[in-house]
């Protein structure tokens, strides 16, 4: 037992109960179905923009790129074009591989003392595998949800649905991404529980999003495969939201509102939490700058404008006195 994850778990259970009581007991369907989603989405948009602008106000005086290779220098020294890019094309490639494939996480190693006190580095790919699994399936699930927000449903989205349900297991057809998302988030949680060093540094703010996303995926899967919900009514609600003509159909079960409420909490929590790494990855100075310190002079933007007196000016001023005193000068008049 650990206060950090118990706290997060209790909060998420509390949120589920809140949505249940709000919808089933108090009948606040308009609040949970319309008001909170709008409020949460606005918080998300404004919060993310605010955070990014706030970050952009921090000057980056110097190139602090982390490098995985030789910087460009003399023509006969081979440089690493992607791991230590010197131009924007290289930076773009590096950012894409970072954002889409988590390239630097792929380099993850584990340092351990073995056989008594032999120090060793070992490759450690599990985190990378499950991180990729988690993020990509999250993205696919999210994109697939747009069938509820578009009419007509775009062709590419239908293609994605067909691919995701490729194995045609059961009815309704099992979407693999939903299950992979659950598997991914479960690993990311167990990792924090079972690896002592990681458990030691994990705080409530690390567990909370995991429980929240677990709750969202779990209620979604429950709703699709077990306690069925009226999808036509759900789509009326969601289409009402995005066309700004909100309606609240009466026939939607509470499990949908629990799912939706957890998503609202996630959206509203997003800009103020570690989840902002979605925006942060684009603004990481260790990743998004070309490593060109040998080629370009970077001037600290917050340098105070110091009044300088160069040697040339000094000599100009004191030349005669210097010559009189027998001091060497650069230019004899």
């Amino acid at each position: 037992m650990n206060v950090h994850y118990m706290f997060s778990l209790i909060v998420v259970i509390g949120l589920v109960l809140l949505a249940y009581v709000g919808v089933e007991v108090l009948g606040l369907k308009a609040i949970f179905g319309v008001v909170l989603p709008y409020a949460a989405f606005l918080t998300f948009l404004i919060g993310v923009a605010y955070k990014v602008i706030d970050w952009a106000k921090s000057p980056v005086p110097f190139r602090i790129t982390t490098t995985g290779g030789q910087q460009k220098s003399l023509p006969w020294i081979k440089s690493a074009k992607i791991d230590n890019p010197d131009c924007s094309v290289g930076v773009v490639v590096r950012m894409l591989t970072e954002i889409l494939f988590f390239r630097s996480l792929f380099r993850n190693t584990k340092a351990e003392l073995k056989e008594g006190n032999k120090f060793s580095y070992e490759w450690e790919k599990w985190l990378w595998i499950f991180a990729i699994l988690f993020h990509w399936s999250f993205a696919v699930v999210l994109v697939r949800h747009f069938r509820l927000f578009t009419e007509p449903v775009p062709y590419l989205l239908q293609l994605l649905e067909n691919l995701d349900g490729f194995f045609q297991i059961g009815i309704p057809v099992v979407f693999l991404s939903g299950l992979l998302l659950l598997a991914g988030v479960t690993y990311l949680f167990l990792r924090r529980i079972f690896i002592p060093q990681i458990k030691y540094i994990s705080l409530a703010a690390d567990y909370f999003p995991l429980f929240l996303i677990f709750g969202i995926a779990f209620t979604g899967i429950l709703m699709r495969y077990f306690t069925k919900t009226d999808i036509v009514a759900v789509k009326q609600l969601t289409m009402g939201l995005v066309t700004l003509h909100p309606t609240v159909p009466a026939t939607i079960g509470f499990i949908f509102y629990v799912h939706l409420f957890l998503v609202c909490v996630l959206l509203a929590y997003f800009p103020f939490s570690k989840l902002m790494h979605l925006g942060g990855i684009f603004l990481s100075p260790t990743r998004n700058l070309p490593g060109n310190t040998r080629a370009v002079r970077h001037i600290n933007p917050w340098n105070y404008p110091v009044k300088v007196h160069t040697y040339d000016e000094y000599e100009e001023e004191f030349r005669e006195k210097m010559i009189e005193a027998g001091l060497p000068v650069e230019k004899e008049e």
Binding site: F44, L45, V48, A49, V52, I53, A56, K57, S58, P59, V60, F146, R147, F149, T150, E151, P152, V153, P154, L157, Q158, E161, N162, Q168, G170, I171, P172, V173, K228, T229, D230, I231, V232, A233, K235, Q236, M239, G240, V242, T243, L244, H245, T251, G279, F282, P301
Partner: protein, 136 residues
């Protein structure tokens, strides 16, 4: 780093980034042109109107008809049982083409209206060709 002058560095890039973020996030808003489409209304055939009731109460049919079909399929294909009795004691032939599509013979105006709206494409009709009906 304390920020005294409130200057936004790389302003152009930041603004472009935020605009792209907003365009993507607001996709459903601009995609639908603020036009709400009425919910589909599945059309009942004369035969269905005479029957008045579906296999299960309408609320259940709406949400669980696919699961009912699945249990029908298992029952026929695995156990060879072809008759289904509902809670009112009415007996149905557990068949997709000769059961559901007997009453709901207007698949285009019934099943498909909902399914297009919800973006589901049941693969059943790859084999269960509804028109003309399969022979018993």
């Amino acid at each position: 780093m304390p920020n005294n002058n409130n200057k936004i560095y790389d302003k152009n890039k930041i603004v472009i980034g935020i605009v792209i973020f907003l365009i993507i996030s607001l996709f459903p808003i601009w995609y639908n042109h603020f036009k709400n489409v009425p919910a589909p209304d599945p059309l009942l055939t004369e035969k269905a109107k005479i029957a008045k009731e579906c296999v299960l109460p309408k609320v259940l049919m709406k949400t669980e008809h696919m699961q009912l079909l699945n249990s029908w399929r298992d029952s026929v294909v695995r156990d060879g049982k072809r008759l289904y009795t509902n809670s009112q004691g009415k007996v149905f032939d557990m068949s997709l083409s000769n059961g559901c599509l007997d009453c709901h013979s207007n698949k285009k105006d019934f099943c498909d209206r909902c399914h297009n709206y919800a973006s589901v494409r049941p693969y059943c009709f790859d084999c269960h060709i509804d028109n003309p009906k399969e022979k018993k």
